[in-house]
Symmetry: C2
Subunit: 534 residues, 2 copies
């Protein structure tokens, strides 16, 4: 299994001299040519030749070579993942390696949700991933048939989700109403045999959390399912700056084991919908199948009422496709692994000392204020290379410090979300209290601005329709269609066949007044949102 990678002698020369600066502007806006040069210096012959979407694309070698988003959204997406070093392809088809920077985004998601899950009364635990084969779930399964060198008598399934083993154990653990509610969560890997894969969005194996709860009443289970979709919604808006639309899935789109499936639907930059999280009210479907019963306060045996809910590494793909632009990734400050990058700039050796001293001081000030700050003081890369690099990585704020800044006791700040001169501020004081306030304020502005931009984009791409013709038109334009719906499952499938759009959800937020189904003309209780999706 030794690598068959084409290995050309590297073109790397040690430590190209730091980019000269005649004036501040020279390094402030490094030309595309400089960017391409730095990129070429780190790329191998093999990767330079590889097509953007090929499995062989090399991470981290493609800086400055990202396909424009408007030209080819899919190519842009995989280019950004490679160039920002978020993930790479594993050797087995459909598998993905999550690289440190991509994993750090997942850790930010975990850190937030883990706290919320505990606050709402859930405990983490861990179920084994190998379980007996359950019939009827086959097309997506990976099966272990050989263990310890021997053919197994009973094939084992590699976990695609855990409802079956959860209920097996719940049946052991739950006897009485005193054992309820039982509310647990696990962070785990799951495997589903997907034919068409896409990094983060759909891979053979992915990481997720799956919550599983058991309750004494239907009402409690319903409340829990709603509570968790609400946790996901808040996370999406407040942390990821993704204005998801929470709602209920149609019967056709509801999880097979659930009575109701709630979802958060996000609009990606290409206006496709991404199902970014789900929460199921499972009713008594699993408890009846597994005889998960409890003795109620009156001594009656009852089946428990259950929920399950999940968010996965797919959400990282959602962040990329919501905020990214032609320069690469753009991260909301609250989930950015690096919120501020400091790039020291100096030309002559005698400048280095004072610049680095100021850099260290600013770094400490920000770090102590709880800001996630990184200094890139490598002398192996030019400032221009670094500017591109951290823009590609979506770092919200860049601080530049050169000898003139040190003299003025100030720094230069650039916002990732506002390109060019408009995003730059000169002469921001180094005085700790002023600078900390300033940076914190800017981070909040960026956070709010990313959300607002995404809301505006979303709302300008949802069309209210009152006929099937209008729906077809909206979908053909790549938009989402929202309209009153009370038609049949057959009608829903017909829409899918004819337009490739599905009902993403009946949003919780519904317009007032009486409604007429745009398909049948019958009265409708709710509007539904239709869209093409990932």
């Amino acid at each position: 299994m030794a690598s068959s990678l084409l290995r050309l002698p590297s073109l790397l020369a040690p430590a190209p001299a730091l980019l000269c600066r005649g004036g501040r502007r020279l390094y402030a806006a490094p030309s595309a040519a400089v960017a391409r040069l730095s990129a070429a210096a780190t790329s191998t012959g093999a990767s330079a030749a590889a097509p953007a979407q090929a499995e062989g694309a090399r991470g981290g070698d493609r800086e400055g070579q990202v396909t424009p988003r408007s030209a080819d959204f899919n190519a842009w997406y995989t280019d950004v993942i490679a160039a920002a070093e978020l993930a790479d392809y594993g050797p087995v088809r459909g598998t993905m390696v999550i690289r440190p920077y991509g994993y750090a985004i997942w850790e930010a998601i975990q850190d937030y949700l883990n706290v919320k899950f505990k606050e709402t009364g859930h405990s983490n635990m861990y179920f084994p991933q190998e379980a007996s084969h359950v019939e009827g779930f086959s097309p997506e399964l990976a099966l272990v048939t050989i263990g310890g060198g021997k053919e197994l008598e009973e094939k084992l399934v590699v976990r695609p989700t855990s409802e079956t083993i959860v209920n097996h154990m719940f049946t052991k653990w739950i006897q009485s109403y005193r054992d309820l509610p039982l509310m647990i969560n696990q962070w785990a890997n799951v495997t589903r045999w997907e034919m068409r894969t896409k990094p983060f969005i759909r891979t053979l194996e992915f990481l997720w959390q799956e919550g599983h709860t058991a309750h004494a009443t239907l009402e409690e289970a319903e409340e829990e399912a709603m509570q968790m979709i609400d946790v996901y919604t808040k996370f999406s808006y407040e942390e990821a700056a993704i204005p998801v639309i929470p709602g209920r899935k149609s019967k056709v789109e509801t999880f097979a084991g659930a009575n109701r499936t709630y979802t958060i639907e996000a609009m990606m930059g290409d206006r496709k919908a991404l199902q970014a999280g789900t929460s199921h009210n499972l009713g008594q479907n699993f408890s009846r199948a597994f005889e998960t019963q409890f003795m109620d306060e009156n001594g009656q045996l009852e089946h428990v009422w259950q929920t399950s809910w999940a968010i996965s590494t797919r959400f990282v793909g959602g962040i990329i496709m919501t905020h990214g632009d032609d320069a690469g990734l753009m991260l909301p400050p609250r989930i950015a692994p690096i919120q501020v990058v400091i790039v020291p700039i100096w030309k002559k050796g005698d400048e280095k000392g004072v610049v680095m001293e100021a850099v260290a001081s600013v770094q400490n000030t920000l770090k102590e204020a709880g800001i996630r700050v990184k200094v890139d003081d490598s002398e192996l890369r030019t400032p221009g290379w670094k500017f591109n690099h951290y823009e590609m990585k979506g770092v919200p704020i860049r601080i530049e410090i050169g000898p003139r800044d040190v003299k003025n006791r100030s720094v230069v700040i650039s916002r990732r979300d506002v390109p060019g001169k408009q995003g730059k501020e000169f002469g921001v004081s180094m005085e700790p209290s002023i600078m900390v306030d300033h940076i914190k304020g800017r981070l909040e502005e960026i956070q709010a601005s990313l959300l607002q931009k995404a809301i505006t984009f979303r709302d300008s791409n949802i069309v209210d329709v009152s006929s099937y013709g209008e729906l077809k038109e909206a979908i053909a334009e790549g938009k989402w269609a929202r309209g009153p719906w009370s038609a049949s499952d057959a009608d829903e499938l017909k829409v899918k066949e004819e337009t490739s759009a599905t009902i993403r959800c009946f949003p919780f937020e519904q317009p007032e007044g009486t409604k007429k189904c745009f398909m049948t003309g019958n009265p409708a209780d709710e509007v539904a949102i239709f869209a093409k999706s990932y």
Copy 2:
């Protein structure tokens, strides 16, 4: 797959009246009979009949029915795991469900190590668990041969460890000395097809972290391997209160892919050794096999130097077997999910209000001081049941608050590690600053005391030997033998065959002076430690 559990109507009556107290002593030391009664009230017929080690043993049903440690250490171990609700058996042979309380201990391990790993320059990431089959690692592997309903052309291995895929990716990512050192870690599940399993210690699947690093020089790799075994050693002593002995494995016991394996060896309560963590200097073994090369500063292509290091959920088993006693688990405060449990005690309804008010106040005080505190205010259990329950769970400190305590503005404190009256303190002031200092002081004392007890136990069970006869005698007594060793691999295997003891390590801490190998009489540079092990 519906459960075939024997389900008898539960004997549970709602809310047995709170245990009466004629005087404080009545509830202070609940009799074994009370304990057994409470236990009986929660056990099902099925579990009461099940032998201790049987796979069918029911978690949480066996309170008060733990086999004495001295009578049968193995039965005690599995009893404690069930009664303290640490883990349960999964439906597939050899699999384990880690229950919330057991998982919380693992989370404490993760929280500490994760910070240390990052402080020492490592980033987390994630490699896929399905990889191509590598020959020669078969006996322990689980193989996926069917995916998506079809026989796979190439069998896939479910990750037993990740050196191969790590090097596959390192070869892609590393071109230049500028890409080094590359230092990563992943928290993951691994699967090994074990024939004889034991909860936490050896299961089909377990959780671990695996660190993988690549360096430009042998010296750097060696330094890294040593640094990480040092991190593990500090964690063991300072957090888990386990006085591991760090050292180097013999050639026979070194990981097949490593030049050197460092280990931490812990003495369990039955005096068997547990290998609790390892760190490997892999040299260039993997980099040569996978052609993982870098261009050095002089333009020369070199193979990288690597390390890998791991700690797993096995460590939880080590904590149980180091500190536990006949009353159950005993947790060092620093890694205890609950450091203090508060049990309210009241008899008459009109006492409840004042007691619960004081309980809430004490709880808040401790919580604000950063102490992990739990109140068990359930009216479904008696104080006596609760005392047993949290002793079984190894909670370091119990606080009792009754009406008389409220009147005196004081509480009663019991230490888990000091049984009976000696471990109790009456009249500890509720005044926040006094109480917080007092509890913090006690937690530190308990932490130090558990470590000291384990050190004393360890040291009184290591025998210095100067002949093979003395070694045989020490091993036959169940002890560890330490003696100068420079004999052959064949001699080492002979010792193993004849005594079942292996070289656990050449400890880093070596006695001064010249030494003679106890087996051959030849000069020896080092002493080795021999012991039977898990």
